[in-house]
Amino acid sequence: MTTRNLLEVTNLSVKFPLLKRGLLSKQVGEFTAVDQVSFEVQRGSVLGIVGESGSGKTTLVRAILRAIEPSSGSVLFQGNDGAVDLCQLTHKQLMPLRTQMQMIFQDPFASLNPRMKVADIIAEPLVIHHPEQHLQHRQQVIKMLERVGLEADSLHRFPHAFSGGQRQRIGIARALILNPSLVICDEAVSALDVSVQAQVLNLLADLQEEMNLTYIFVAHDLNVVHHFCERALVMYRGAVVESGPVDQIFTSPQHDYTKLLLSAIPSLDPDIKLAPLDRNSLDLG
């Protein structure tokens, strides 16, 4: 593994058992949610993953973090103490590595505990991973809040008192408080209005520069991916059908599914009519 790559994923597959209904459920087959996916992510870069719902984007990124157990393949992660294969580690061995990879979730309403104050939400990763430094937690939380553009008086309020964009900032603060190197944004801006989305994207870009972050950015909005990412993977039915620099994917798509996705983007110009390709006429494999 070259040190330029933060992450190297090789032939990663995730399969879910299909069970027969009934009291003694018997496995009758397998569903392959992620099928032999390989890619690498350079340190300091942004990799986009696009695809429609059900294409396996979220399962893939969760399998990378071992939040879902992968069935086969390897995930080489360039940690602070050298490269390790995340798939081979026990959960105990994984714990210290988890500080270096964090996730930002899609739904800013469901991903924050409504009964916890903002201060506790943001401090929770610190409490889990660095309980011995508890005296400094508060200071770190206040610094983080400022960094993501929230007022210090937010500390003692509950998530319901915040708008969608502000909640997403809280989620970002929680993800970044451990100073991770890899941040996975799972549809982090999909639930936001376009103007708030712009603010959050700008914030993510600023934080990347300040904290030297590497992002994996999962989205179904191709314009956002084109704006934000350097390279992208296009997923369809669990497999990567196309990958490369975003400009190349957008200007000369090779796979029919990529062409379908691109043709479905509505233009801002009322004179350019939306003419999506017909799914049935394409060779989607």
């Binding site: 429609e52 719902s53 708008s163 969608g164 209005d193 376009v194 103007s195 708030v196 989305q197 712009a198 603010q199 994207l201 700008n202 870009a205 179904h220 909005d221 191709l222 314009n223 956002v224 084109h226 704006h227 934000f228 400009d247 957008f250 379908l260 996705l261 043709s263 479905a264 983007i265 509505p266 233009s267 801002l268 110009d269 009322p270 004179d271 009519k273 939306l274 999506p276 799914r279």
Partner: protein, 315 residues
């Protein structure tokens, strides 16, 4: 009022009150919907766009309250009337809801009942408004499902919403909304929860239906690209006020109001740029919202403070 206006809102204000304060969700707005056209209301969350649509069907729930204004509805072959004057349990209001006017919601899973079959739910809409036998209603519902692109509609009538994908559920919603042949269809962010490919399919379906059925559509969204594809008239709302109205080409190609310009700039485009121009909240709230004057040129209206109004506009 001209005959080409199907719905006209005058001085509508809606307030939401709690123990501490009163919030004007809609602040003294005027708008006209043209017959057989698609009017889009664009704005961020909290701009009052959905509340305006809900008021059109008298669906504002307490603590929300319509404090003033009138909504004049002029259905074809009927006298026009003020929707807000209708009594809560008057038969005219029942006819209006789902009959003359119907609505498609953002989240099809929460808008459909999980414990009734699709067929059951569409038939309920028909049987509420038309005195026809159940079998006829079944046939009508199945034909409507076929019409919105659901194959094997007779079998699918017996299925539950969870057996449908997101795009298919939205098709069911459209079928349910159109089955009583309403004159106004309100679409409240119908594609926001959908993937881009499915969104394109639903937009194509709506356009195709619009071309064959004579219907006036009110389309609520925050996605300007969707507006560009579907709307004839555009209304930009923010903080409960209408900031700008005009045709889709006027608003998207030549926006006057700084807020409209900001909305367009915030869309991540196909051309790459280092940063997006996000709209800062202060600028809209303080500079443009307070004491605006309404300036008119032709069929275009814009609400701006005096110094910002372009010279060719009249007050």
């Amino acid at each position: 009022m001209s005959t080409s206006t199907i719905l006209s809102i005058r001085n509508l204000s809606i307030s939401f009150k709690n123990e501490i304060s009163e919030q004007l969700a809609v602040n003294n707005i005027n708008l006209d919907m043209k017959r057989s056209q698609t009017t889009a209301i664009v704005g961020e969350s909290g701009s009052g766009k959905s509340v305006t649509a809900y008021a059109m069907m008298q669906l504002i729930q307490p603590p929300g309250k319509i404090t003033s204004g009138e909504i004049i509805f002029s259905p074809a072959q009927q006298d026009s009337f003020d929707i807000l004057q209708l009594n809560d349990n008057s038969p005219a209001l029942y006819d209006l809801r789902g009959g003359l006017m119907s609505m498609i919601f953002q989240e099809p899973m929460t808008a459909l009942s999980p414990v009734h079959t699709i067929g059951n739910q569409i038939m309920e809409a028909i049987l509420t408004h038309q005195a026809i036998p159940k079998q006829a209603a079944f046939d009508l519902a199945a034909a409507m499902l076929e019409r919105v692109g659901i194959q094997n509609s007779r079998e699918r009538m017996h299925q539950y919403p969870f057996e449908f994908s997101g795009g298919m559920r939205q098709r069911v919603m459209i079928a349910m909304a159109l089955v009583c042949q309403p004159q106004i269809l309100i679409c409240d962010e119908p594609t926001t929860a959908l993937d881009v490919t499915i969104q394109a399919e639903i937009l194509a379906l709506l356009k195709e239906l619009k071309a064959t059925i004579d219907i006036s559509v009110l389309f609520i969204t925050h996605d300007l690209a969707v507006v560009a594809q579907i709307a004839d008239q555009v209304i930009v709302m923010n903080q409960g006020r209408i900031l700008e109205t005009g045709s889709v080409r006027q608003i998207l190609n030549d926006p006057i109001h700084p807020y409209s310009q900001g909305l367009i700039a915030a869309v991540p485009g196909m051309k790459r740029q280092p940063r997006l121009d996000a709209i800062s909240n202060d600028s809209t709230r303080h500079n443009y919202g307070v004491h605006p004057l309404i300036a008119i040129k032709g069929d275009r209206e814009v609400a701006l403070p005096m110094p910002l109004i372009p010279a060719e506009y009249q007050l």
